[in-house]
Symmetry: C2
Subunit: 369 residues, 2 copies
């Protein structure tokens, strides 16, 4: 895939739609996170958000111990791109995937989550065949009702199964509450994480009683991580969206201790039709910006609202008194949800002060397996 | 991008998630459409749905005159893949895009839509610079309230602007009502298309009064095309989804004259967690099947319902008495919306009688510009 722009080009000359990364805001976000948690927890940034080793390497340079991924194929892209320490913060099931995971563990430090004893057996067999060692975490069900083993007894049994597997190293507890990230009220988010914290602490205590050391508790996202830090039960946090700050996250209530990050990710869209005084149609629809968490925001254009999307078109309504964009004008949209939006593109067009400074390939785009 | 499967492999061995095309159903759909409209209208199949020249070529072999696209980059991929006649059924605005469109018109028969005189001037300038001739259609606003020029006087003026442009050939009227396709009631769909038909006929009559021949009226989608055929104002239809038949289209009421097509497109998903007796978590979330038009259906597994998606996970609820899938079992999902789902993948894994028969690259995947 050919890059969609050239270095040195002005932003307004970039063809539309294009995925834009504003480097100043991006670097501010990297530093803001690092400064906040330095000396308190480790950062393992989530690469499912950006799918780009160039970004992963900058997160590591800013202090992260490595990255998380959700898929083996994402982890392969990260290792290929130079990241030496990757946790697949997810269950990996099936012989083909586990064979690839085990092969990867011969090239880099690889972790994975389990929530079922059958999966532990399958993982051990794959690791043994490859002659690999794999950091294995139990995923704890902390209220999200997705994957995960129940706290207490079931968690203890699963840890014992890991410890009994010669090629697996019990690496700790993965405790992540995805749904909590987007609860609007900061107090409610804190309360949900407090409940999760109790489940983590109870399980750690049970492991200690059984003379099992839990090396790491890892989890937390961009909407809650300071609650995890303050509650003290987590050793490592996994924020992903903080580098970009999408429009859905912007709707959260942000109050100390949770920082608000800067919008750094945009979709550049072009006005392709002006059917009426009240409407501009742009060339970025739901194949250019994921609509699963709501419509994108229109950046710094008061009175313009993106209200509806079809596959290749977006409806931008022009409010009373708003400066109306003309045919061919370009607008910056803030995606509703950054992760699936990034997954639609092959390149970040990295811009500073209105000029394209770099083009970063999204090498894990489409990495679903 | 490496293919996700090998030819000769059994479906149940294909790694998940994967985009599956059931060839028998696909070929049935090609034939069903061709048989229905043969001798009545031309078919110009919409390639925005499949983004794959291999499919486009089979549509042409089944009688289509060529394909439609929504983007210049899609049209480039189709011409590159061997399609000789492509209509960009959309407005193309901006010097960079128009330069590419005009260059393409030197290699293949290329059509495009306009809805504004400024765009006609820009298009003529680009065609002249390239020494190209471009088939130019006016897009008529037929009730969708997206792009398009108003019927009657404004349409006539725009046609005159095309005719006055030496490198543009007035090719006809593009009249497509996208929103009508998914109206559930067949009678309501017919009524909406009947209104569109009046606007088309009035505009054609006005052109005739002005001694302007309208070569082609083109439009119609998979939810309505037989209404366009029966109303008689259209010469060419543009169905796209008929080759796949997604879960959202399945919710339409299908009654003669509108045929129901067969589901040929699936996402193969793997069960990665069984947190409770009532829930299976699969490895296909909203990066594997677009959720913009609702959740996917679970194919031929009574009592299983895909009820919720996160980025990389799907919740499959297990109803009373349903056969519960085990860890590692695979399910076929029928995507809620085929077009944006296809756009997430690089390959079709083409299957017949449970065996992988071919792998077709989705060369226009991500072609947004």
């Amino acid at each position: 895939m050919k890059p969609p722009a050239e270095i040195g080009m002005r932003l307004e000359d970039v063809d539309t739609p294009a995925l834009i990364l504003e480097l100043d805001a991006f670097e501010t976000n990297l530093k803001r996170l690092a400064d906040l948690v330095k000396g308190r927890v480790r950062v393992r940034a989530h690469a499912k958000t950006h799918k780009c080793p160039e970004i992963g390497k900058r997160q590591v340079a800013a202090g992260a111990v490595g990255v998380c991924c959700q898929k083996v194929s994402e982890a392969e892209a990260m290792v290929e791109g130079g990241i030496a320490d990757v946790l697949v913060s997810n269950e990996i099931v099936g012989a083909r995937k586990l064979e690839r995971l085990a092969a990867l563990a011969r090239r880099a430090r690889i972790g994975v989550c389990v929530d079922h004893a059958d999966n532990v057996r399958e993982l051990q067999a794959a690791a043994q065949r490859a002659g690999a060692n794999i950091d294995t975490y139990i995923e704890l069900e902390v209220g999200m009702r997705r994957c995960g083993v129940a706290a207490g007894g079931p968690a203890l049994e699963l840890v014992k199964a890991i410890i009994a597997s010669p090629n697996l190293r019990f690496a700790g507890i993965h405790a992540y509450h995805g749904r909590a990230q987007h609860i609007r009220s900061a107090e409610e988010r804190r309360a949900v994480i407090q409940n999760a914290s109790l489940l983590v602490t109870n399980t750690k205590t049970l492991l200690e009683k059984n003379k099992i050391i839990c090396p790491i508790v890892t989890g937390a996202g961009s909407g809650t991580f300071m609650f995890e830090v303050e509650l003290g039960a987590w050793d490592e946090i996994q924020p992903g969206s903080y580098v970009f700050m999408d429009w859905d996250y912007a709707r959260n209530e942000w109050a100390p201790p949770m920082p608000r990050f800067e919008h750094s990710l945009f979709v550049l869209a072009g006005v392709m039709s002006r059917p009426s005084a009240l409407l501009a149609v742009v060339d970025a629809g739901l194949k250019a910006s994921s609509m699963d968490s709501g419509m994108p925001g229109v950046w710094q254009r008061p009175g313009l609202s993106y209200t509806h999307a079809s596959d290749e078109h977006g409806w931008v309504e022009i409010g009373p008194g708003a400066a109306a964009p003309g045919l061919g004008d370009k607008l910056l949209l803030v995606p509703g949800h950054c992760d699936p939006t990034v997954n639609l593109y092959d390149w970040y067009v990295c811009v500073r002060a209105g000029v394209v400074e770099a083009l970063w390939p999204i090498t894990a785009r489409g990495a679903v397996t």
